[in-house]
Amino acid sequence: MRLKYYLFLTVKNFLHKKINILNVCLLTLVITMTIVSLSFSKTFFRFIDNIINGNMNHNVIIVKRVDSIEKLKKSLSDNKSVVYVENYNSFNQYVTANNNFELELIGISDNYLEILYGQNLNNTLEEKVLICPSKFYLGANPEEYDKNFLRNLKSGKEYLNDLINIKSEGYDENYKIIGIYDVDKYTYGEYNVCFTKKENIDEIYMNYVMELKTICEEENTICSESSFKQAVVIVDNIENVTEVEEQINNLGYITSRKSKVNTDGIDFLTFTLLLISISIFIVTFIILLISNNKFLQYNKKNNLIYKTIGYDTKILLKINYLEAIMLSIISFVIATILCFIIYFILFYNFSAEIKLQMPISVSILSIILSIMLTLGVSLLSTYLAIKNNKSIIGEFSDVEI
């Protein structure tokens, strides 16, 4: 039979069957559910992944009462997971930038920055250089997400190659921003973290200490030097942090984490999400079978008519396949439009905090999977239904006239 006749029969059958409206609705629901649930899972897992692996603070161990940093460095030199050991004060300092916003400066001049962020401070001979995030928060406190949050968020690219004024106690210098890293990818939710050479941090710290000593002497008070005795150890991967921490504890040091991941909470959320996804998948599959059964029941009469007038199984399969494909494609297009509407509704109604912390990721895999599932089930059940119906006349009694 010619292709145009197949198309003629398919389009005719498709357009004039009211049941197809129901089938399109059911399949649209199935595809939408699959795309939404898998996209939500992807968004969540990306969020979790960024929280765990993207935030350097999870890889940082603070070691207390360190008399000799060299001794600690030597003790950890055999452990390949340890990428950075330094005095805590050489690690980070909080400063004021351009007189209007807070910055955390982290002083790392070795290969850690390159490993983690693909940036290198040593590419330039200049000393006062920074690698800064792709977004700056210019508000008073980056921890507070208020309604002005988005307005206060500025692109880091606007500052690239600009000079930025850094002020701390007894310290006032201009720094050039020579590189940008993706804040969403690396320091999730921590917008104002810049990296500079270790020597700069030491300099800022020494000025701070001198200023502190002056204040102490003037006020005749005792200033604690405990902070001198702290060290910071950075581990290459979050999975190795516990092992490194145990090694440091075995050396007799007391440790704490700069930031600890709530693994139990994440495990619970992951399990819940998995359960929801499986439930949605089962519901989806059941709806798909119901829809397909209705489709085949309705086609049964026409298939029998075709068989009676001499159409063979091959032709019947093609006619039914084409109709199933048409049904799936139309449902898929509607579902995709629906998903985009849902996406934009969510996008405009989510708070700035959620939008920035958990940007919705539409899963391409879910789109491919949903169309494959819909098509696969309908084509397979069509095949089985037509192939298994050997007797023509026995089925006439079953069909609706």
Binding site: R2, H16, I305, K307, I309
Partner: protein, 226 residues
């Protein structure tokens, strides 16, 4: 030459452990140029017989011959070809495709017949409908037609490929008297044109138009009136 014949035909239906012989060791030859009426009570096996004659169902034992050719050895594809070009079916419930217009229903058998091109198919199907008095209703959907009109569409579809054998299972079962007479006269004229027409019915009026009346009981021919 017989148009269609059966030899030692037996058809058994298995129902909940019991077996029922719908056709019981039957042999008969149906000839061209004749209208046969098979009569009998419900369950006598007349519909089963017509379905086996039309290769819609298979016998458990025995053979069906069409133009003296044994059909038991034919492949499914060859049987489909015979159903398409050699046999025309008419059913009590018309079995029209409700998603298609009257002329499109008539086109259906021609779509898989390589002897027709696209323009011919449309033209012939409309002509066929004119022949059964539906020239004004060619573009109507089955649901817009009366029972009699639907049956005429079904007849036009059955005749689309100019088959030599017409098998009609209770063709007037759902029709009023006027349409009943029209359909029976049409079937009579087909027999007069040289076709072999076999009608299954329990309506006595059909006898008037027939050449041979066969009474069937418990899967066997009880008597023949010629």
């Amino acid at each position: 030459m017989s148009a269609i014949s059966i030899l030692n035909a037996t058809k058994i239906y298995q129902l909940k452990g019991t077996s029922d012989k719908a056709i019981n060791n039957l042999s008969y030859e149906f000839e061209y140029n004749k209208l046969y009426v098979i009569m009998g009570h419900s369950g006598s096996g007349k519909s089963t017989l017509i379905q086996c004659l039309g290769l819609l169902d298979e016998l458990n034992e025995g053979k069906v011959f069409i133009d003296n050719n044994d059909t038991s050895k034919l492949s499914e594809k060859e049987k489909n070809k015979i159903r398409n070009s050699k046999i025309g079916f008419i059913f009590q419930n018309y079995y029209l495709n409700n998603t298609m217009r009257a002329y499109e229903n008539v086109m259906l058998p021609m779509l898989i017949n390589k002897n027709y091109n696209n323009k011919d198919i449309k033209k012939i199907s409309k002509e066929m409908l004119s022949e059964v008095g539906l020239s004004e209703r060619v573009n109507h959907y089955p649901k817009e037609l009366s029972g009699g009109e639907q049956q005429r569409v079904a007849i036009a579809r059955a005749l689309a490929n100019e088959p030599d054998i017409i098998l009609a299972d209770e063709p007037t079962g759902n029709l009023d008297e006027e349409n009943e007479i029209y359909i029976l006269e049409k079937l009579r004229s087909l027999a007069n044109e040289g076709k072999c027409v076999i009608v299954v019915s329990h309506n006595a009026i059909v006898k008037k138009y027939s050449d041979v009346v066969i009474n069937m009981k418990k899967g066997k021919f009880e008597d023949l009136i010629i």
